[in-house]
Amino acid sequence: MQNHPDLAEVLTAVGRFLEREVRPALKEKDSGLAFRALIASHLCQLSSAELGFEEAQDRAELEGLSLLYPSAEEARSAQDAPRSRRKAVLGALNQRLAEEIRGGLSDPQRSEQLARHLQQTLRTRLMTINPRFDSAADVP
């Protein structure tokens, strides 16, 4: 079986092509289109990186949700399930979480627990969608 070039390598290659060959060729003729070629290149490169992290990220998010909802068996069982199953369980549990928040956060301890989970999940997601975003910075 041929494993390489794999999906991540293809995306990286397309991203490089857009940035190094397409963008310079467009720059003089159409700066708007050149800018879009740059966006396309970034999207390819970030997606390529995301491919490598996605499974671990999903697992971590499911683990966090299983701590918030200990009776939700699927949060644990989905951690080793195929991608489509993981995404379905994540969608359903995030829906449940959103509904709980909308229902009112009368217990401050619970509210704090939810906030910590949300921050942690976002921090992990930010590492792939924008590696330059410094979530640890004390921004004034």
Binding site: S31, G32, F35, R36, I39, A40, H42, L43, L46, G91, N94, Q95, L97, A98, E99, I101, R102, G104, L105, L114, A115, L118, Q119, T121, L122, R123, R125, L126, I129, N130, R132, F133, D134, S135, A137, V139, P140
Partner: protein, 340 residues
């Protein structure tokens, strides 16, 4: 198309001539903006530059059409705000049904990265907090009692003319946006619950620019040249504008300069207080900065849906949508940090 445009501009400018160039301007995700050069027949060596701002194919929620925007610009100019003059409005000029607005051309740049970082603009950056504070105080001097028909009734006023608290109005609009999203966004729900529990007290209602930030004003090495983009103007509370310019995303990477990526908060607020005679409520500003991040996160997701639904084929919308988590995280971070 140039022919029709030339005829219209001849009427507006009161002299015969020809449109020589018509170039799209970058950075208009919401409006179609163009730079037009008109050469008068009597003075062929001269060119008159104008900005032509036209309704885009799709409208963003809460945005004004060109005619309403033109009225806001006129009111702002009458209040002493430095903003390009409206030369005229025309329908069906670029596209069937779209209204175009011709504005005086202003020199300078509105590109965020240049404004926060260009070495040639270092002196301008020193002056900007003071200059912007004065402009904002003038915008906020515009009151509804003097301009009863300036904006559509829905913006802060019920159909029966009753005042709706701008905070409740804004949170109502945000709730609607969240409800229409195809996926659950628990972090936005959490931040929304915080906003509902921490609404600032009512205060005087003023004209709010609604998108007062780096990227929406022109700057030259000499300083501020004009305030742009009035499509989100509405009746509201002053701190909304004072906080919006401080959003992390509008600092264009210069995170330690909270005001637009070029200034500290204190001198900006102090200059605003001196120019407006109004004290800045820091708690309210904190509320509006958190609201701003939630609103912008929701806006990013909405932009992505415009692409996903097939309404727009602009690749930038996909890139913007993927950045929503930045604003979600910032909203939660600010809530944890508290007002300063």
């Amino acid at each position: 198309m140039h022919e029709e445009l030339s005829v219209w501009l001849e009427g507006l400018l009161g002299e015969a001539g020809q449109v020589r160039s018509f170039e799209p301007l970058a950075g208009g995700a919401c409006q179609d903006n163009h730079r037009v050069e008109f050469v008068p027949a009597a003075r062929p060596d001269e060119k008159i530059r104008l900005a032509l701002r036209s309704d885009a194919t799709s409208k963003l929620p809460g945005s004004l059409d060109r005619a309403a925007e033109a009225s806001v610009i006129s009111a702002a100019r009458a209040a002493g705000v430095e903003t390009p003059r409206v030369r005229g409005l025309a329908k069906d000029l670029l596209r069937e049904g779209a209204v175009s607005c011709a504005l005086d051309w202003v020199e300078g740049t509105a590109i965020g990265r240049q404004i926060v970082g260009s070495p040639g603009l270092a002196a301008a950056r020193e002056k900007l907090p003071g200059e912007l504070a004065v402009q904002l105080a003038r915008i906020h001097s515009i009151r509804r009692d003097a301009h009863p028909s300036l904006l559509p009734a829905r913006l802060g006023w019920s159909d029966r003319g009753e005042h709706v608290d701008p905070v409740l109005n804004t949170l109502g609009a945000l709730r609607k946006t969240l409800d229409e999203m195809p996926e659950a966004h628990p972090a936005l729900e959490w931040a929304f619950a915080w906003l509902v529990a921490h609404t600032p007290p009512p205060r005087e209602v003023v004209l709010v620019h609604g998108d007062f930030r780096t990227g929406n004003f022109m700057v030259t090495p000499e300083g501020l040249r004009g305030i742009l983009d009035w499509e989100f103007a509405h009746w509201g509370y002053p701190e909304e504008d004072l906080a919006w310019i401080c959003l992390r995303d509008w600092r264009f990477g210069v995170l330690d300069k909270p005001v637009g990526g070029f200034a500290e908060r204190r001198p900006f607020y102090e200059a605003y207080e001196a120019a407006s005679g109004r004290a800045v409520d820091l708690q309210a500003a904190h509320f509006w900065e958190i609201w701003g991040n939630v609103h912008w996160a929701a806006g990013c997701i909405y932009q992505g849906e415009r692409y996903r639904s097939g309404e727009s084929s602009d690749l930038e919308l996909i890139a913007v949508a993927r950045r929503a988590a930045e604003m979600e995280y910032e909203a939660l971070r600010l809530i944890e940090k508290g007002a300063r």
